[in-house]
Subunit: 336 residues, 2 copies
């Protein structure tokens, strides 16, 4: 994991930032210790208290105010509220909110009309203490606004916001390095589109394959709206006899497996399939895939957001951008 | 399906209700035709227009106002935002909202603290044009309030609200009738608790078994928070050699299947398992289960809610309670 943290103490007198840095925790954690919040217990709490005493740190009076609203809510903006991706994200958010007093409010912004709604004044999302932007449309809508809420971008690198993302280039790389060790031709199937996140996986995969002195013999591009089983059937028609197929996502990989089984082709033998994502059905079916730590990404984004809310609440000076880039890993199962 | 509809025209002059009844559609549909809304097209639109002409119906001027807010939003209150149940509900809601201008805002109310938040004045849910209550805690919180929004209860029978629910007694009944046709002893595993919805399935199951002159030899009650695989292992230890196990839900059924496979027991042979729900993994694994039409329930609830919003908007007089009770069906696959 790569991470960047700003916020060193800027004067001789110890600040909450000096304490946080010395204790190796976030400012929000220090504040929760000061407020005797039940979510910080045990060793962390002891360490923070010891450092507060060592440094003779005295919090300013407003650091002990209660939460800023009678409706402490975190707002989450997602493309939809039913996909597997989204449900893993929300699980991760809830892990960070467990034991906190925050409620959870989510907005499904899958259409341009809905994303545009968010930018209008008086939208209910303005009532949230902090926002998690999990979707590109939500992010674009947000950038046009005069919002003052703490906001964290989840799942993509940005220049103007704190963010937590997954290093998909690395995810592609490890899949490519592994594919290069397998017999047969290597084929990549990618989602058409300019999204940087999508390009990163493909780029990493090619790097991984070529670093082993091999080549991806064919790249096939599919449209996001294509019917998965039709794509799978067409792929099987044109694949070499022995091939490892790297797919852009678990959904297509699972469709390929189903389609191959219908044709009596065993997967994992001459035909090998690698997924991307590691959603719940992947383990059930024995799919070899790249595990994306989505829950962890969401938990860390939320923790970062809670820290930012707490800092704002304490009147702390604005800090540098913070970011974390999480590392995927290869989940080796039966299909490749 | 059972359904109750009030709102017959009460004077000689034709009203929007007279038109809706004659056309066999909801009041909202008539209104959308009058407003030339793109979501009503083809045969329905033609029929409504023909009836409007036949009856010489003239809408009152306010029936053509635009939507009541610059932020037309439907609010959905659910226990969580990550379970399979919830994702199927949201899919159904989105089906009803497709082509409409409404946004979707959801609140996760799994804890008593969160449910209590909803009852406080100024909660963001008050900004929604209409509410779908999908959760008991949300419903209890709602009943204490002076809310004026159109509100529909989803998934449970209520006396004070419009509702759309699933007839789980019938779901239990068809499972019981089927179990009675199978060899071996019949065992039921149920979730402990007083919820009427939970009791209904069990009651129906016993009825179904007994109507065929057979008996459920054992009812086992488990706690909602019990670990599924531990429950499954304990069940397998105490089951008769030949048994059909009716479970309260697909999750436990799938855990039983996994646990049985670990012990080398084939499921569908001496040991038969029936699920309840028919969530996505059920078909994948070949689980015989009771299909709950959750998506349909959510779509119909949302359509009912949209009709109520439109009626309110037109200043229509309050109508009688409306309800629909949907019928589950048995999905026969390999495990029983």
């Amino acid at each position: 994991m790569t991470s960047g943290k700003g916020g060193r103490g800027r004067s001789g007198r110890p600040t909450v930032h000096t304490v946080a840095k010395a204790a190796g925790v976030g400012v929000g954690t220090v504040s929760r210790v000061l407020n005797n919040h039940p979510s910080v217990r045990g060793e962390t709490r002891e360490r923070v208290l010891a450092i507060i005493e060592d440094l003779n740190y005295r919090p300013t009076p407003q650091a002990r105010r209660p939460l800023p609203s009678e409706h402490p809510l975190i707002g989450v903006m997602v493309a939809d509220l039913y996909s597997v991706w989204q449900s893993r994200i929300i699980r991760g958010v809830e892990t960070a909110l467990a034991g906190q007093d925050y409620g959870l409010m989510a907005f499904a912004l899958g259409s341009p009309q809905r994303a545009a709604q968010v930018a209008q004044p008086g939208h209910p999302s303005a009532l949230a203490q902090g926002l998690l932007l999990c979707d590109d449309a939500a992010y674009r809508s947000w950038t046009g606004q005069e919002r003052s809420q703490p906001t964290v971008r989840l799942g993509a690198v940005t220049e103007d916001l704190d963010y937590v993302a997954i290093d998909n280039r690395y995810g592609g790389l490890i899949a490519g390095e592994y594919a290069a060790t397998l017999p047969g031709e290597i084929v990549g199937v990618w989602l058409r589109g300019q999204l940087k996140e999508r390009q990163a996986t493909r780029k990493g995969f090619v790097e991984g394959v070529e670093s082993a002195g091999r080549q991806v013999i064919q790249h096939i591009e599919v449209e996001p709206q294509d019917h998965l089983h039709r794509v799978a059937a067409e792929l099987l028609d044109r694949l070499p006899d022995r091939a490892t197929v790297m797919t852009h996502g678990d959904d297509l990989a699972l469709a390929l497996i189903t389609e191959a089984q219908l044709r009596g082709l065993p997967v994992g033998d001459d035909l090998k399939v690698i997924g991307y994502g590691d959603h719940s059905q992947a383990a059930l079916v024995g799919l070899t895939t790249v595990h994306q730590p989505l829950e962890e990404m969401a938990t860390r984004s939320t923790e970062l957001l809670l820290d930012r809310i707490q800092e704002r609440h304490e009147g702390a000076p604005p800090r540098e951008q913070q970011f974390q880039l999480l590392t995927p890993r290869l989940a080796l199962r039966g299909t490749a």
